[in-house]
């Protein structure tokens, strides 16, 4: 069975079709029926660290396509934190092999997303340190040098986050923007962990847990202000985050999913609706 097309994906697809003037499979056979289709030049945006021309994913696209460079930057770093949170849990249980992919993800999947931004924000590059940690996690996971490299990696990510002004890191709108990106990614990962109502992919279950745990941590930074300024939104967001957290009772998945991917998407949408 295919995954269901979510409303937000439909919206994204439509907005992209409009934005890019693209229409997949709508072939124009130039020369057979006249002129080739002429389109306006596609507006493209250089993505930091990605080189070349990268068109962002339409208006209000999912994930990093927020159009807000600060939220995108924070989201990538927050995803790194989420990965390392579950890696740490697994290391504490002595599950070094299970921890290894989560140690790899920050440098393999996310660093390229912030590489250019680090220079712009005068933050020292730390790819070499992430690579060294990844190498050690594979070759000497139980050695003290690996633990030291892990601690250093966490500090370097925190340092990159601290490059954002404190006022921004405490700003509800900014933090909720980041949380929404984290939770959407978590929902995708959670769905990709399940087949036939069973957990079949441990890595994706653990990924999504890490993102939800870090979302909770981020929300704590703004909870007090939300309670004072937006009590109704705070109540819904806070209780929904708590409900979401029950889906991942531990770093090891439950025997069967506590909630379906659709239910998780629903909870994530509730938080998003209350965020603006």
């Amino acid at each position: 069975m295919a995954k269901q097309i979510k409303a937000v994906e439909m919206f994204l697809a439509l907005s992209l079709a409009v934005t890019l003037g693209a229409c997949n499979n709508a072939t124009t056979d130039a020369g057979e029926g006249g002129e080739a289709e002429v389109v306006e030049p596609t507006e493209t945006v250089n993505q930091g660290g990605e080189g070349g021309e990268g068109g962002e994913g339409g208006e209000g696209g999912e994930g990093g396509g927020t159009g807000n460079a600060d939220v995108d930057y924070m989201t990538a770093l927050a995803l790194m934190k989420g990965h390392l949170i579950v890696a740490e849990e697994l290391i504490e249980e002595g599950k070094y092999a299970e921890a290894e992919p989560h140690i790899g993800h920050p440098v393999e999947e996310l660093y390229g997303d912030v590489e250019g931004q680090l220079t712009t924000r005068n933050v020292p590059q730390f790819k070499a340190e992430l690579n060294e940690l990844n190498d050690l996690a594979k070759s000497a996971p139980e050695q003290p040098e690996t633990k030291q490299a892990f601690t250093e990696a966490m500090e370097l990510i925190d340092n990159a986050i601290a490059a954002l002004p404190e006022s921004q890191r405490q700003d509800p709108e900014f933090v909720l923007g980041t949380i929404n990106q984290l939770l959407k990614t978590a929902a995708e990962e959670y769905e990709a962990a399940i087949a036939d109502d069973k957990f079949v992919e441990l890595v994706e279950y653990q990924d999504s847990r890490g993102f939800v745990l870090y979302s909770q941590q981020l929300y704590e930074n703004i909870a007090e202000e939300m309670q004072q300024e937006r009590p109704e939104d705070h109540e819904v967001i806070s209780s929904t985050l708590d409900e979401l957290e029950t889906v991942w009772p531990s770093v090891n998945p439950p025997d069967s999913p506590i909630k379906t991917p659709s239910e998780v998407y629903g909870l994530v949408s509730e938080i998003e609706l209350r965020s603006s």
């Binding site: 295919a2 995954k3 994906e9 994204l12 992209l16 890019l20 693209a22 229409c23 997949n24 499979n25 072939t27 056979d29 130039a30 020369g31 057979e32 080739a36 289709e37 002429v38 389109v39 030049p41 596609t42 993505q47 660290g49 990605e50 080189g51 070349g52 021309e53 990268g54 068109g55 994913g57 339409g58 696209g61 999912e62 994930g63 990093g64 396509g65 989201t75 990538a76 790899g104 393999e108 999947e109 996310l110 390229g112 997303d113 959407k184 990614t185 978590a186 929902a187 995708e188 990962e189 769905e191 990709a192 962990a193 399940i194 087949a195 079949v200 992919e201 890595v203 994706e204 990924d207």
Partner: protein, 333 residues
């Protein structure tokens, strides 16, 4: 369904139909298309049998029988006097029913494994709009020649879009695949496909099809438990590919099996001509077995002189017996 550009028009015909390639641009019967005057070759006949009924799989989003001859020519556009062939793909996860018992979470493009068979002509400018809707970061790395910014090794995070743009060169058969580590996992879960770059002068008309060999590591132990041609294990074993007797078949063959070093593709009861990497217009060799490491690809050409049902498979027989097995059903002309 394929959507041929004007430089290469091919229509599928049943036994009562045939494709005429010509130089004149004359009108034809409904559905037939004449090549433009740029072609410099004599008329030829390509006959493709009608597809068997009931080829679709209820539990999967794509049909390997139609995927076989499905070439995506994208959308031809013109910008500032330059022709651009534009493609659009979306990476996401979806479940594949590999057999009646095994449901596998695949990462793929456009809900199919392999991804779309993209096709352009050498020298054309390609634009590929890549959306990533999966939770993991992904990328598309194309084999072939292009600038470093377009090399597809940088991660494109969930929810982002990246536009790859490069000139289609050199002509040949070029794999594309996700290049995010662990690459073994990103590829074996399904993020791969073919870009065919046609030569300036077209090859002879033929019944063209794509076969991509892939492996599935079901339990993440870095060993494949299942293998497949075009995504679904044993699909063409249970549903042979119909071809006509004496019809030239052009096979675009790619090995994207991770964890196993190499496979030796073999067709039964016949020989084939090899155009290595699709980089030649004349055959490099003739054989009935060819060993291919991961990411190696070739064009193979053959025609079956005798009707019947003929196996094709890698000659690492354990791989064949775990899903990488198929048949050609040669129908009397």
């Amino acid at each position: 369904m394929s959507n041929s550009p004007n430089y290469l028009k091919l229509n599928t015909w049943n036994r009562r139909q045939f494709l005429t390639w010509g130089l004149t641009g004359l009108g034809m019967t409904v559905g037939a298309t004449i090549l433009g005057t740029r072609l410099r070759q004599k008329s030829a006949l390509v006959q493709i049998p009608p597809l068997p009924e009931e080829t679709a799989l209820a539990d999967n989003d794509f049909n390997p029988m139609t995927l076989l001859r499905d070439f995506d020519y994208g959308t031809l556009k013109e910008e500032n006097g330059r022709k651009i062939r534009e493609f659009e793909v979306t990476a996401n996860s979806s479940t594949l029913q590999l057999n009646s018992a095994i449901t596998f979470v695949s990462w793929n493009l456009n809900n199919r494994v392999p991804g779309p068979t993209l096709r352009a002509k050498e020298g054309e400018f390609i634009r590929l709009i890549f959306h990533n809707q999966d939770g993991h970061s992904h990328s598309l790395h194309f084999h072939g020649t292009h600038p470093v910014e377009m090399d597809g090794v940088e991660p494109i995070r969930h929810g982002k879009t990246f536009v790859y743009e490069f000139e289609a060169k050199p002509y040949g058969v070029h794999p594309y695949h996700c290049h995010i580590a662990p690459v073994t996992r990103h590829i074996s879960k399904g993020l791969y496909g073919l870009l065919i770059v046609d030569p300036p002068q077209p090859r002879l008309p033929a019944d063209e099809m794509v076969l991509v060999m892939g492996g599935y590591d079901i339990n993440n132990d870095e060993h494949n438990e299942l293998y497949a041609f075009n995504g679904i294990p044993n699909y063409y074993r249970d549903r042979p590919i119909p071809i006509y007797q004496n019809q030239l078949v052009r096979l675009y063959l790619l090995n994207m099996i991770e964890f196993d070093s190499a496979v030796t593709f073999h067709i039964h009861a016949n020989m084939f001509q090899v155009y290595r990497t699709g980089r030649t217009m004349t055959p490099d060799e003739e054989t009935d077995v060819i060993t291919m490491g991961t990411a190696e690809r070739h064009i193979l050409e053959f025609a079956y002189p005798y009707p019947g049902r003929y196996m094709f498979h890698p000659h690492q027989d354990i791989i064949a017996e775990n899903g990488c097995m198929g048949f050609f059903e040669v129908i009397p002309a």
